[in-house]
Amino acid sequence: MTAKKEYKSLGKRHKIIDGPEKLSGSAQYTGDMRLPGMLYGRPVLSPYAHAKITCIDRTAAMAVPGVVAVLTAADLPTKDRPVNSRGSAVLAHDVVLFRGHPVVVVVATSEAAAKDGADAVLIDYEPLPVVADMESATLPSAPVIWPNGLPKDGMDLTAAHAAVDKGADEGHREPSNLHEETKFNRGDVDAAIKNADIVITRRYTTPIVHQGYLEPHAVVADPHMMRGELTVYTSTQGQFGVRDEIARLLSMPKSKVRVVPMVVGGAFGAKYGILDPLVAAVAWAVRRPVKMVLTRSEDFLSTTPTPATIIDLTIAAKKDGTLLALDAVATLDNGVFPFTIGGILGILLGGYYKCDNVRILCREVLTHKPQGGAYRAPGAPSATFAIESSIDELAIQLGRDPLELRMQIGVDEGDRMGNGDKWPNIGLKACLMAVQNHEMWKTRTTEANTGWGLAVGGWPCGMSPAASVCRVDSDGAVRIHVGSVDISGVNSSLVLVAAEILDISPDRIQLIQGDTLTGQRAGPSGGSQTTYSVSGAVAAAATAVRTKLLETAADHFEASPADLELVNGVVSVKGFPDKAMEIGAIAELAENKSGGNGPIVGEGTSAVSENAPGFVAHLAKVHVDPDTGHVTPLRYLAVQDVGFALNPMLVEGQIHGGVAQGLGWALHEAMIYDEYGQLLTASFMDYDLPGFEVMPDIDVVLVENKSPFGPFGARGIGEPPITAGAAAVANAVRNAVGARVTDLPLRAERVWRALHDSK
């Protein structure tokens, strides 16, 4: 890594500011909250994937000591809202639509009484036909889930994750379980395939994967009936969006809803307001504060895991490696409400390699399962698994080195994404070159049953306008106010930005994370955009403060601001060391002086107009046990173009986490439903979330190909590191034992079968 001489704080390794609190367990999460008079809510979830509710008998539940209320959909202020998304499906009206659909909430004076009450609620169901499988869902014989079309009125959360044109659905559609299709076409694919020397066709499948955050969904809602206001404390990554949804669903003015984002114990795309409207509605109905913390099983059953995909992919090439055509149909299991990530999947699927003839069809299918949701680079691991497995196969069939082939046909700035848009400045090849120069690549050796796999991946990254306020107070502290949520350590980077501009030590800066009432506007913390968009606002606010400090001091010293310098928190007149003043003293002066600037406060905004995609190249070495099919990752190299690492330690942390989750996609994780829509993996005893013991050592290389748009050259870095792991591992398995596994995850039995089939 290059040394960054130009900066004092930025580009250096700094520990995260709230690390000690989190490590020691003293950080206060939503589940730790206790408000006076607070009640506890327990949901009763549907045991069926599709059924009519014929009777709800609350008598026994109401008789449980401590139970205060047993509420159904009709008892809530949300009762008249159309149900067309997970967030709006607060409680089921008449019909349950997925296993885990909340039907009743029991509110009681203790967690135990709420649970006893929930067990005592008697609900009769009349089972209805279940559409469980995304392939048969679109057959004419399948019942249509929304025969009258999906109720209108709602919002699209996928937009938060990637600022790209996702392609449009064409015109009006008859109600169908195939509720949306996205098409990207350019060139003449059929002719190109005819002229190709080599054509590779494969079907890839990826399962429903859960975000697997440590902290389940947790919400405390506190109504103030007199003022007609509601305060919601929640584990969320997007407070403003949650506020808007609660206000919409409860028919309240947005200004009467205050959402306070709490310390988040992991979110990864899942915490944009699944449980919040329900708890808000329940608290409003009982007119008292209510807390609800999901159990792990409730969380698995009732939240929004990321969609399963089936990708039929054909690539056609010339003998010299030139990619002539890419032809793909991707089918995505949205669950019971639309969650459309086919567009971004197609953009990436057709976006890593130069190709003139592209035809991509993405089919969004509805089934009786929980609605899908975002999970770190939604759609990218699936798209990347497919294209990078096929490109690996192409290299094998052409007898080419997989890295060198990728250098030949990989995209550069100005080449096209799947949707035909041009890539801005990107670092795909810079990453490949860094792999090529790394000792792990140069000295790689293979022993029996071991192999190496290479894969690239990328993510466009989002951008939302943001604002910040910075102030210097007479106690000598610098305070920064933001309205963004810290899910990844961003606050620790924002502090460095201000420290750099004000030339003071980062530990003199206090970061104040506001809520929807007190915080400055920021986009949701998703789409790898938070540092990318908020640090510009912080930089602008700190710069405004710097100007005011210099002006105030100049006035005091009767000098020109141009003759002053700010070094180590002290403003002085250049060449006159005794004409110097601490910034706290300047603040005190400003606070007490009539006339002039007034107290030292500055505001800043940013509205970045171009995104800065982040690319990665991952190299994995695995061992495959030929008797059992068990795959063990042995070594791992993660190279990423991060633009500029504001805090390399945090960036590396993000990459470690992304690699771990990528290995989860590769080898471990799958939510499995049976033909009745029953979830078979509703706890960590059945859902295989990888632990530390199965992680290889990870070598991280940061490539700093500065973004022309991001603050200090930064790029979005949170999502890219999850994209390439599954493909890298699958390619390594192919290299180790000759078996090409096209279904995720590569669990032992699957690899064992592939080995047997290939014998």
């Binding site: 135990a112 008797d627 993996t681 059945d686 039995e749």
Partner: protein
Amino acid sequence: MIPAAFEYVKASSVAQAIALLNQHGEDAKVIAGGHSLLPAMKLRLSQPAVLIDIAAVAELKGIKINGGTLTIGAGETYHAIATSSTVKNACPVIAACTGQIGDIQVRNAGTIGGALAHADPAADLTAVFLAIGGTVTVQNAGGTRTIAADDMFVSMLMTSLESGELITAVNVPVMSKGQGASYAKLKHPASRYAIVGVAASVTVANGVVSACRVAVTGAGPQAVRQPSVEKALMGTAGDAAAIKAACASAGADMEYLGDIHASEDYRRAMVKVYAARALTDAIAAARA
């Protein structure tokens, strides 16, 4: 994850625990490490009205050697057993097996008595106990008796313990020269229980296998011996070819369970693979 309400009594002796069990009958359950019982209670699959905690009963502790027998108190935890130099010397396979069960929290609480009494189809110690042989000492109001390993496991989650009986100790033979044992396990990817676990115990005398016991856990509803494998290996040199030949019949006549984590086919194949691995290690240990 809150269990139904229950009463809790901390027993200070075996006699007291047994008296309480008799007093409350079917409504009561003893709790040792709680790592099988509490998860079931939290899911409300089990709702005992009275819990009798035997974790602190001193009589259930202790690891001793008496002649050729190693006796482990039923209340000893996996961690205590795995780190006991007495166990490591006298019967290393028990130390190795208990040292890999679950995770550190499970090993700090889970007990050998609880594991054998619960007889989970995917438990590890059941197979090891069957392979090395020995007895459990059990006690009720009327006195004590012993149950031989081969008579212990009846069916899924069912042992030959009578209601009101407590396991007080586990007795296994001390390994002598020429004997070796091993446990090989294919871990469930999420829970770390055994999808297939095979324990083998062998005696090698004058270069040939003179005694052999093999048992399988995880693959089916209960841990079972593999008489055909044992018979096939007896009298052979215990070399790779003999092991391979013997393991061809591993798992041939037993019941299987299949699920999303491992199909029946895969379990069948893995019983052979892990039987060969356990036998290879056991024979190497016997020869060492």
